[in-house]
């Protein structure tokens, strides 16, 4: 066998193997090529999806506007899947409306669109588990024109629910006349987009809800009534205080609020005026349910858009301020009168002395001068009272407390009232506990307190007696301060008047009980100021009108040291202790 024959033999035997090997290699290369192509395609698809996702993410940004989110997703569909129509349904709870907008990409019939609508309604009912009101539907169509000759039904579709803060806000429907067009692979990216948008919007919603909750709490705790309306005059916010001031139910409608104003204020016109002007409107005063309210309406401006967002109406209760203002005016009138009467008296007496000085006898002129002296003294006391009150209100009322015998000061004061008491036919008793400790008080100011209480007792007691008692106030066996009580058998005090008694305009509120009673009416207010400035308390007890009254005040014990009985105390006060002064 020559070499050629051998080669031919080998070639003929190995040829089938070579061919087989060739096809095997070719198939292997093809598979690898396909796989590589598929990988490339998959990679390109992923890159494309990522780009689209980013674009949508950027466009949605931090938006809570469901319409915007749904529109952006719908608008991006063409880049991802083929479709005949894309429709979206938005549930607008505020307006009780459902917006249905359809964009036609490939001409379809109105039957096709009707079918789309029915599928979206069925999906909404299934998701929300509540009936769908077709009357609330607001429909619009855009894109290609309808082709009524088309008989193509929906052959494939999918729905994309949009949920924000666990609430269904919309549904997107993508439909096609081509069958089996959509599957989990080619729609996956859309569900990812919807999920991403939903998550971002939910996070933002949670932040806004938390801020809103804080704002609502702040508004609810306001001491003024407040309401806010949007530019369409829909009530956005109303606080509890407003309901309380106007006597309306909680969560009222704007109609309830306007109605409660009982024609005192044209709320609508006021809000319209506020929204139309960038100037501050003057506050208005109205009286509703016996309350005087100051009403201010201000426009709320969107700082970025520079557009009005609504109007805030604030109701400030000025009833107390108004009555205080009236009291002030009445008080001023009263004081002017109190000063004018003695001044007139002084003037006419002085005129008489000047005109008829030659005719007036000396004892008569002395009487007239004594009258001028006594009248001017009353005026001086009145002016001093006013000055004291002014100092108290300006926080400039000083007491200079020092250690001393309170009983001696009280005994002196009691003694000074002796002639007046005798003149009125009353009894004035002084009862002082033995072994009283030294007290800590302002020796000048305390006289004002005692004078006021005894003179008040005298003014309001027609018969009977007045008793001044000085004792130690002991709590749990420990002396805590010195208690002074001034009791009378006079006209007493009504319970209703009790809280007005120590107020600045107390006498004015209560009404002057007798025309004959003169003075500023500020005595108890000043006495309270002095006692409290010394670190004591002042109060009264009365069983009621006609049953007398007792005024109490306390004075701190000096250094908490019990005073030992000594000769000096007994010598000076002894005569008055337990003595009755007629």
């Amino acid at each position: 066998m020559d070499i050629t024959t051998i080669i031919l033999a080998i070639t003929s035997v190995s040829s089938p193997f070579a061919i087989f090997g060739y096809f095997l290699m070719r198939s292997k290369f093809k598979n690898e090529l396909d796989l590589s192509k598929k990988r490339e395609e998959e990679l390109a698809r992923r890159a494309y999806e990522t780009a689209v996702l980013k674009e949508i993410g950027d466009r949605i940004g931090y938006s809570l506007d469901a319409v915007k989110i749904v529109e952006i997703i719908s608008g991006s569909l063409g880049k991802l899947v083929p479709y005949s129509t894309v429709c979206h349904m938005i549930f607008d709870e505020k307006k009780d409306k459902v917006i249905l907008a359809c964009n036609i990409n490939e001409s379809v019939s109105s039957n096709f669109l009707r079918e789309v609508k029915n599928k979206m309604i069925a999906a909404s009912v299934e998701m929300a588990q509540k009936p769908f009101m077709e009357d609330d539907l607001d429909e619009s169509i855009s894109g290609n024109i309808l082709n009524e000759e088309s008989r193509d039904p929906i052959r494939s579709f999918f729905n994309l629910p949009i949920v924000i803060a666990q609430k269904l806000v919309g549904v997107i429907n993508v439909s096609s006349t081509i069958g089996d067009l959509y599957n989990d692979e080619n729609t996956e990216v859309l569900y990812k987009i919807a999920k991403l948008a939903s998550e971002e919007a939910t996070k933002l919603q949670q932040v806004l809800d938390s801020e809103k909750s804080r704002l609502v709490q702040a508004v609810q705790s306001l001491s003024d009534g407040l309401l806010m309306v949007d530019t369409k005059y829909h009530l956005v916010l109303v606080n509890k205080k407003l309901c309380q001031l106007l006597g309306v139910v909680s969560n009222p409608s704007l109609f309830d609020i306007a109605n409660s104003l009982s024609g005192n204020l044209d709320l609508r016109s006021m809000m319209e005026e506020a929204i139309a002007t960038d100037e501050e409107l003057p506050a208005r005063e109205i009286t509703v349910k016996e309350k005087t309210l100051q009403v201010v309406a201000s426009r709320v401006l969107d700082k970025i858009a520079q557009k009005p967002m609504g109007v805030v109406v604030l109701l400030h209760d000025i009833t107390d301020a108004k009555s205080l203002e009236k009291l002030r005016q009445d008080f001023t009138s009263m004081m002017v009168h109190e000063l004018r009467a003695p001044l007139t008296n002084i003037k006419s007496t002085a005129e008489l002395l000047i005109k008829d000085s030659s005719k007036i006898k000396k004892d008569e002129s002395t009487k007239y001068l004594a009258n001028i002296d006594s009248t001017s003294l009353s005026m001086l006391e009145l002016v001093n009272d006013l000055l004291d009150v002014a100092k108290m209100e300006a926080d400039k009322f000083d007491v200079i407390s020092e250690s001393g015998d309170l009983a001696i000061v009280i005994a002196e004061r009691v003694e000074s009232f002796k002639p007046q008491v005798a003149e009125r036919g009353l009894k004035l008793n002084l009862v002082v506990d033995r072994n009283l400790p030294k007290a800590y008080f302002d020796k000048v100011r305390i006289k004002q307190v005692i004078n006021n209480l005894i003179s008040n007792a005298l003014k309001f007691t027609q018969a009977g007696e007045i008793t001044v008692k000085v004792s130690q106030e002991v709590v749990n066996g420990n002396p805590i301060d010195i208690l002074v009580a001034v009791s009378d058998t006079g006209i007493g005090i009504d319970r209703e008047e009790a809280n007005k008694l120590f107020s600045r305009f107390g006498q004015l509120v209560m009404g002057r009980r007798t025309v004959a009673l003169k003075g500023s009416g500020l005595g108890l207010y000043i006495a309270k100021g002095i006692v409290e400035a010394q670190g004591g308390r002042i109060w009264f007890k009365s069983e009621g009108a006609g049953l007398g009254s007792t005024f109490y005040f306390t004075v701190p014990i000096a250094d908490n040291e019990l005073r030992k009985p000594d000769a000096h105390y007994v010598d000076n006060v002894g005569k008055m202790v337990n003595a009755k002064i007629n």
Binding site: A123, F158, L160, V163, L181, Y182, N183, D184, Y191
Partner: protein, 90 residues
């Protein structure tokens, strides 16, 4: 229990077909090993442990519609107290 699971899964798939559309739901569900589903969503056979099948399919639906899928599932489970208990304890 197998039959109850079959009914429950059929109902769940049908509801999701209404919500998301049949093409997508069926293409997802038919990828589950052993699960045989008709075009109307009726489950013909589960083919393996029904609890595993349920977990797989509810995971798919959850990926697609999150909160909506969860609510739909919770509502449906109210009709199947036995399954609800088993699923909760698994």
């Amino acid at each position: 229990m197998q039959e109850e699971y079959r009914k429950f899964l059929s109902e769940l798939i049908k509801k999701q077909m209404v919500i998301l559309g049949p093409n997508l739901v069926l293409s997802k569900a038919r990828k589950i090993d052993g699960l045989k589903i008709g075009d109307d969503g009726e489950v013909a056979a589960i083919g393996r442990d029904p609890l595993d099948t349920f977990k797989e399919i509810s995971g798919y639906f959850n990926d697609l519609s999150g909160h909506i899928a969860q609510i739909t599932l919770e509502r449906l489970l109210e009709k199947y107290p036995g399954l609800k208990q088993e699923i909760a304890s698994s």
